[in-house]
């Protein structure tokens, strides 16, 4: 008898292992950059906090969220290996390093499983050229933030602009300024000059000397770069006596920009940026951050906060389809007229399929405090596809 029992008990144990207790959860895979160059853009903090909030309320249709998070160290090959691991564990969607050289191969692997790459913060235009079908971004691509900033600039009477471009950040830093310029010219303004810079740059004096040399002084400068570099630009322009707006992209959306006004409250009065979600005091995002802090899960800055939207969109789709089939979930996301999210009221993927239609906020400062200058879907967006 004894050997017989032995034989039969092993498969029974094995089958228990194969169906762990979490079988009935909504699994989301996050092979993300927790360390390395792109660590600032990981959406994990917000995603985790939103999952916690939903789970605390009993989950979706009784199913709780289970986030599978592992660090890629900003390495594409690691992201691919982790994606394969998470796919085997039955995830319904994946969020990864928000740059096309990772997102494309990851999407190609996930396609075989019907799983969607649902990216919280990806604005790269390269992802919307039809190279993969199973990619959805929760935000609008860069031409939209550029257009929103330009529309606000035109409304402030800006005519002559200088564009700072750099190849170091791909289309984000090279082309976004050109899209801004296109909208300005479409609105009757003029691009005075285009100048180069590198990422990172901690001293803008050569570019500023060039601005001073221009025959007419610019009303605005546009740059799509990172902090603290742009903060240095703002200060050095002020010191050089150039009274022009500094417009920028989501790269400026970092709390360290606010600190530039520490000693001079007015220095940010003519600084504004088109970004991905309103972040001024009283915004939905700040409320979300406060809620998370109370839960003991702090969310630092906009990029992490955007993770909340992804989880809410998935929650919506799971509720709609009544299950966790990844293909059905993607279809549900793309057919909805409006999906409620956290950082803005709602998003829709119906018209664009691969990126969200959502309002694009322009954030500025008054007395060193963030204010929402505008928040709309831009009327004129340059042809970017």
């Amino acid at each position: 008898m004894k050997p017989f029992f032995k034989k039969i008990s092993i498969p029974i144990f094995a089958s228990f292992l194969a169906f762990p207790v979490y079988a009935d959860t909504i699994k989301v895979g996050f092979p993300v950059p927790l360390t390395g160059e792109y660590a600032p853009y990981a959406e994990i903090q917000g995603a985790k906090c939103m999952a916690e909030i939903i789970n605390n309320k009993g989950g979706v249709n009784g199913k709780k969220f289970e986030l599978l998070v592992q660090d890629t160290g900003t390495d594409t090959q690691t992201a691919i290996s982790l994606t394969e691991k998470f796919l085997d564990q039955g995830v319904v969607a994946i969020g990864t390093i928000p740059f096309s050289d990772t997102m494309i191969p990851v999407a190609q692997i996930a396609a075989g499983y019907g799983v969607t790459i649902l990216q919280a913060q990806s604005t790269q235009v390269e992802m919307h050229t039809g190279i993969v079908d199973n990619f959805i971004s929760n935000v609008s691509p860069d031409p939209f933030t550029a257009a929103a900033a330009a529309e606000y600039a035109l409304s402030e009477g800006v005519k002559n602009v200088v564009l700072l471009t750099s190849d170091d950040g791909g289309s984000w830093s090279a082309k976004t300024p050109l899209w801004f310029g296109e909208v300005i010219e479409n609105g009757g303004g003029k691009v005075l000059s285009k100048m180069n810079f590198s990422i990172p740059t901690s001293d803008w004096s050569p570019q500023i000397a060039e601005m001073k040399k221009l025959s007419s002084s610019p009303d605005a400068v546009y740059i799509s770069s990172i902090m603290p570099d742009v903060g240095v630009l703002v200060r050095q322009m002020k010191a050089a006596g150039i009274d022009a707006w500094v417009f920028g992209s989501d790269g400026l959306d970092d709390p360290s920009l606010d600190s530039v006004a520490d000693s001079d409250k007015s220095i940010l009065d003519k600084v504004a940026f088109g970004t991905l979600a309103p972040s001024q005091p009283g915004s939905a995002m700040q409320e979300f951050q406060a809620e998370c802090k109370a839960l003991g899960m702090p969310v630092d800055g906009m990029f992490p906060a955007l993770g909340a939207d992804v989880i809410m969109a998935l929650a919506y789709a799971v509720e709609k389809t009544g299950g966790t089939d990844p293909v059905a979930i993607r279809e549900a996301l793309r057919s909805a007229d409006s999906i409620p999210v956290r950082t803005v009221e709602s998003v829709s993927f119906k018209n664009n399929k691969s990126h969200a239609e959502r309002t694009v906020p322009v954030i500025g400062f008054k007395n060193g405090v963030r204010v929402l200058l505008s928040n709309a879907i831009p009327r004129f967006v340059p042809n970017w596809k």
Binding site: L34, T35, G36, E37, A39, P40, A42, T165, S166, D167, A174, S193, K194, M195, N196, F197, S198, P200, S202, D203, S205, P206, Q207, A209, E210, K212, K213, M227, P228, D229, G231, V232, R235, Q236, A239, A240, G241, D254, P255, S256, D258, S259, V260, D262, S263, D300, G301
Partner: protein
């Protein structure tokens, strides 16, 4: 037009001063140990993070913050020598290089995990930076401070290496480490001094970098150190004056290319800078002021 040229030349000088200051820190360690200390950037970053911490616990006195930051960098440099570089002191150069890269990577990720991957504002050094008008030319006080500090640093180092007992022992150690021990001189002390000096230079660099950037992030020092490394190679690795010369040359090249190249070639700026450097290295493969054939005199 002449104003514009003068203005850009002054800008180039201040770019160069920063590279030179950091390059000196690399060169002093390399000249004694033959170690390219890529972790020098993180020694700079520690200075920055120290300022962040001091601002957070409400230290307002700028002198205290400056001294604190320099002190933190010196301690960090000596600490890294003790735990990371001493064990591989007699290993070959590649081992040292890889150790330095490893230490650099570990520290960057520690900053990232323990503090934040994002930049944290540190505005306590803003007071060092104010505009100065000379006719139609505008410069920043920071440009003057940084250039003067670099020149003082090289002067101090040359005097130290020529005149002080430890300085002479350091030069001797660069040639024959064991023989210095056989003079009854504590070799560990000599090397720790070299690291302490590199930490001092890193601390000073950290103050200028923070005064300009107003924020600290994990790669605060890594990127400038890569530039400083190039400066050392061009100037002649191991030569202190070479490091300074290389730093100023690189600053001039960068600003020059930025100004001269048309915008459509902007992405090629670094390519052009490195092309010029390649030509210099063809002319002088060991760098402009390469030390004599043996790892000889540093001055």
């Amino acid at each position: 037009m002449i104003d514009y040229v003068v203005q850009q030349s002054l800008n180039a000088l201040s770019f160069g001063a920063e590279y030179a200051l950091i390059a000196l820190g690399l060169a002093i360690v390399f000249s004694i140990m033959g170690l390219v200390n890529f972790a020098h950037g993180e020694v700079i970053a520690i200075g920055g993070y120290c300022m962040m911490v001091m601002a957070a616990i409400a230290f307002r006195n700028p002198i205290v913050i400056i001294i604190g930051a320099i002190f933190a960098s010196v301690i960090m440099a000596v600490f890294l020598e003790r735990i990371a570089f001493r064990p591989v002191r007699y290993a070959d150069a590649t081992t040292g290089l890889l150790t330095a890269f490893g230490v650099s990577l570990i520290l960057q990720n520690l900053f990232l995990l323990l503090v934040s991957p994002r930049p944290i504002a540190v505005t306590s050094m803003y007071f060092l930076d104010w505009p100065i008008k000379l006719g139609s030319i505008r410069i920043s006080s920071l440009q003057i401070f940084e250039t003067v500090a670099t020149l003082l640093a090289i002067l101090f180092l040359v005097l130290f290496l020529k005149r002080s007992f430890l300085g002479i022992a350091m030069r001797a150690a660069s040639l024959d480490f064991e023989m210095v021990r056989l003079m009854g001189i504590r070799a560990n002390r000599v090397i720790a001094t070299a690291f302490a000096i590199s930490g001092l230079l890193a601390g000073i660099a950290a103050i200028f970098i923070i005064a300009r950037r107003g924020a600290v992030d994990p790669t605060l020092g890594f990127n400038p150190v890569l530039k400083a490394f190039v400066a050392c190679v061009v100037g002649g690795f191991g030569s202190l004056t070479g490091a300074v010369l290389g730093g100023f040359l690189l600053g001039a090249l960068e600003v020059g290319m930025l100004v001269i190249l048309p915008q459509s070639y902007g992405g090629m700026k670094d390519a052009f800078v490195f092309a010029v450097i390649a030509i210099i290295l063809v002319w002088r493969p060991e760098g402009i002021l390469s030390p004599q054939k043996e790892k000889g005199d540093k001055i």
